[in-house]
């Protein structure tokens, strides 16, 4: 087994012993938002599609969870499944539209889809769609049945373990997918679409499948976030939230699975850390972005990993 993975798992297991409660929740937030950034990394880094719609599927994850718990009074497992299903169901038609166009047009179509959905949900019409499911504070603490036990999300340690386990499972699934023949085919399309098409690949179908899979990942992130923060907001659907995933993933390195997590950790940790010392965190973070883009354009994680590997090789 990869020593890095073992090390990470050991760190995650030990985290509740070392970290204070609020730090645990912060760590869980990094993992969940990192998963959201990964969903962008999958469509962009592996599929070559610069999407500004990922927040839609994050939001749909929250929406599915809310419908399941509010309207149908379902348990947490079913609500989780409902969140992911809502994101995937929404991605099937919207992804079909978006993946038919390319490059800048794809970007704009995803922006239009985001603005359109936000406008519809915010408008106050279509109450039967928006209902109380978009902006909501959970009036209860969710619990989860695992075997004979009923575990509560009131416990920070359990919340952290559960988020970490779900994120790990999702990353494993994504890893299996990108290293499968499907992932290879998609990489071929990203690198040279004309050649991939000549090889007989169904380009649009493959792009659509990847888009839908990534939407499912974003939906899972949204659902996990509701369990963690116990509130949802219409803001989650906004294209500026997609922008955060875009920035974090590219900052960390969008073409690796760990990069988006590294980028999101950097984003959240710096904004959190800086905010203790100065009021204008966002300005400082903006400057930091410009510096990173200037000196590590391939992404922080990828740049550091390469430096380490080079140093290691030189020693040998």
């Amino acid at each position: 087994m990869n020593p890095g993975v073992v090390l990470l798992a050991a760190c995650a297991l030990a985290a509740p012993l070392v970290l204070a409660d609020y730090q645990l929740i912060f760590a869980a937030e990094i993992l969940v938002w990192g998963l959201f950034a990964l969903s962008f990394g999958l469509v962009y880094g592996f599929g070559g599609m610069l999407s500004f719609a990922q927040a839609l599927y994050f939001g749909m994850g929250c929406y599915g969870f809310n419908v399941a718990t509010y309207k149908y009074a379902l348990g947490t497992w079913s609500a989780l499944a409902a969140g992911v299903a809502a994101a995937i169901l929404f991605a099937i038609p919207t992804g079909f539209i978006a993946t038919r166009v390319r490059r800048h047009h794809f970007l704009i179509v995803t922006v239009i889809l985001s603005v359109l959905t936000s406008a519809m949900l915010a408008s106050g019409h279509w109450r039967w769609i928006a209902g109380p499911y978009v902006t909501r504070s959970l009036p209860f603490v969710p619990t989860l049945a695992i075997g004979p036990w009923e575990l509560s999300f009131a416990s920070e340690a359990f919340t952290f373990y559960f988020s970490a386990a779900m994120v790990a499972a999702a990353v494993w699934l994504a890893w299996r997918l990108v290293s499968s023949p499907f992932g290879r085919a998609l990489a071929a399309i990203r690198d040279n679409e004309a050649r991939a098409e000549l090889l007989g690949l169904n380009v649009n179908l493959l792009r659509w499948l990847m888009f839908t899979f990534a939407a499912g990942i974003a939906g899972l992130a949204g659902t996990l976030y509701v369990l963690l923060a116990r509130y949802t907001n219409i803001e989650f659907f906004d294209w500026t939230y997609s922008g955060k995933a875009v920035v974090a993933a590219i900052l960390g390195g969008a073409s690796s699975l760990a990069g988006p997590f590294a980028g999101m950790a950097f984003y959240l940790a710096t904004t959190e850390y800086l905010s203790r010392y100065m009021q204008q965190v966002a300005v400082a973070f903006g400057l930091l972005l410009l510096v990173v883009v200037r000196f590590a354009p391939e992404g922080i994680y990828v740049a550091i990993a390469r430096r380490l590997r080079d140093a290691f090789r030189q020693k040998q």
């Binding site: 610069l50 239009i112 889809l113 106050g124 875009v246 300005v283 972005l289 200037r294 354009p297």
Partner: protein
């Protein structure tokens, strides 16, 4: 329904302003291959600077004269100092301009404040149109946009610098080989694009409430206009922006504004699916 002409007129005025901003975005996009997410925020900064200058001097016309010049210089300096490194890489340009956008928004929030403010109509003359008193300033705003766009097209087609800009966009390598000073072109193109956004901001300031989030709504509209008009097709961009706003204005006469926005966005999506290379590509020229 009797409001229809006035709403269409409002849509036309707003569409002309958006067209001006979108043109600025389009030249940056087309020439530098730079996806400028901060473009809407330059528009916002233009409006905020207008408010500040009016607050200090009490005169709208000073703001009107100074702000675009500030935009030209600031844009040029930002391109030369900061953005040079990430040009020609669309994804990095998004990250860099997102950083820029954060700096502009939060910088304005820290200094100007978060509360929306209003500017009085600087002309203050109304005249009757279709049975309603219509502000003369709106016509003036539309006129400024039209003149600015006309001047820009003249500049692009009648001056040496404009010809260079078109040459660099058509084929960068050949243009450089022919001795076109591409570095200078990039710098002033970004400056010019920024100046257009900030002029749009000044002109639009008395028509809306001025706050640090003003750019967030305008940016998607501009991007949509750039793509629907056909990437690199400048008159197409302007036409798409005007079409979008006039359509929204017309629909607002019988439906609510959000419904109008939704209908026009759906229309734009359909256009993109049916004519992915832009509404006007292949019609003429």
């Amino acid at each position: 329904m009797e409001l229809l002409p006035v709403l269409v007129l409002n849509g036309l005025v707003w569409g002309l302003i958006v067209a001006l901003i979108a043109l600025g975005l389009s030249i940056i996009f087309g020439l530098l291959d730079f996806v400028n997410v901060a473009h809407g925020d330059f528009f916002m900064v233009g409006a905020v600077l207008a408010w500040v200058l009016i607050d200090r001097t009490g005169n709208f016309w000073i703001a009107f004269a100074i702000v675009p010049a500030i935009g030209l210089v600031a844009g040029g300096l930002i391109e030369r100092g900061v953005l040079k490194a990430v040009e020609n890489d669309a994804s990095l340009s998004i990250v860099a301009s997102f950083g820029l956008s954060l700096i502009l928004q939060e910088g304005v929030r820290a200094t100007y404040g978060a509360t929306p403010k209003r500017i009085l109509d600087p002309i203050g003359v109304t005249f009757p149109v279709f049975g309603l008193e219509y502000e003369f300033y709106r016509l003036f705003a539309a006129g400024v946009s039209v003149i600015a766009m006309g001047a820009f097209f003249l500049f692009l087609h009648r001056t040496k610098f404009g010809t260079w800009m078109r040459a660099v966009r058509q084929d960068r390598e050949i243009a450089i080989a022919m001795g076109v000073p591409s570095e200078r072109i990039f710098m002033w193109t970004f400056g010019l694009g920024t100046a257009m956004a900030m002029l749009g901001g000044v002109v639009a300031a008395p028509l809306t409430s001025v706050e640090f989030r003003l750019g967030l709504d305008v940016l998607p509209l501009c991007f949509i206009a750039v793509i629907v008009g056909g990437l690199g097709n400048l008159p197409g961009t302007a036409a798409a922006a005007i079409l979008l706003s006039v359509m929204e204005g017309a629909i607002t006469s019988f439906a609510e504004p959000t419904t109008a926005r939704i209908i026009s966005l759906v229309f734009m999506s359909v256009v993109l699916l049916v004519r992915p290379r832009g509404l006007f590509t292949g019609l003429a020229t």
